[in-house]
């Protein structure tokens, strides 16, 4: 059926977004860039689960999606709590030439 095929195509496109987040996680010049890549990856995986649930018509993954988004936010906030303890002249915050 054509609608299901298009939803599968949307899933594949979202995997491209996950690849972008992982690329930024590998590449980013500062720690904050890596954290941004992690954030993008988390939210996109949540979106993939939602689109896949819409493809198969199940309602059993909503709790997983809620817990996963809460875990992603908690991960980000706890990393920030760690980063606030570092001194400002730490070399992790030097962006180099910007890219």
């Amino acid at each position: 059926m054509i609608v299901d095929l298009l939803k599968l195509l949307l899933c594949v496109l979202l995997f491209g977004s996950v690849a972008a987040g992982l690329w930024r996680l590998n590449r980013g010049p500062t720690t904050l860039d890596r954290l941004l890549g992690l954030d993008l990856t988390t939210i996109t995986i949540m979106s993939i689960v939602l689109v896949f649930s819409a493809l198969t018509g199940t309602v059993e993954f909503i709790e997983f999606v809620l817990l996963f988004s809460a875990l992603g936010f908690l991960t980000t906030v706890s990393y920030f709590y760690y980063l606030m303890q570092l001194p400002p002249e730490d070399e992790e915050f030097d962006a180099g030439d910007g890219r």
């Binding site: 609608v3 939803k7 954030d39 993008l40 909503i62 809620l66 988004s69 400002p88 915050f93 962006a95």
Partner: protein, 117 residues
């Protein structure tokens, strides 16, 4: 009627996926932590909200209470995380991206990250 609901759900899901991919492209292309967290905080919020709405439209017996809870949670947490990125980057003195344009060969050419004054 079921067909109409399926088509509407598919269209809203496609819009959400479009905005998520816009956020990913911004994550790759933009030059700075501040710009990248801007891309996350706006495009990603809209994309995720549209995806949740599209899921609720395309599943017949969708749990709308949990979906509304998820919508409110996303609407609260993604901009807060994006704001925290900018706050920490500002407090730690991450160098901002400053584009400088120089006149060369008859046209303006932009050079990234000019030195801070």
């Amino acid at each position: 009627m079921s067909m109409v609901r399926e088509i509407a759900g598919l269209v809203v899901l496609a819009g959400g996926v479009f905005f998520v991919i816009v956020a990913a492209v911004g994550q790759i292309r933009l030059p700075d932590v501040f710009c990248r967290s801007h891309a996350i905080g706006k495009a990603m919020t809209l994309g995720v909200m549209l995806i949740v709405l599209g899921y609720g439209l395309s599943v017949p017996d969708a749990p709308w209470l949990k979906l509304i809870l998820l919508l409110i949670f996303q609407l609260m947490t993604i901009p807060v995380a994006s704001h925290l990125f900018c706050l920490i980057a500002y407090r730690k003195g991450v160098r901002r991206y400053r584009a400088k344009a120089v006149w060369e060969e008859g046209e303006w050419e932009r050079i990234g990250n000019a030195p801070q004054e």
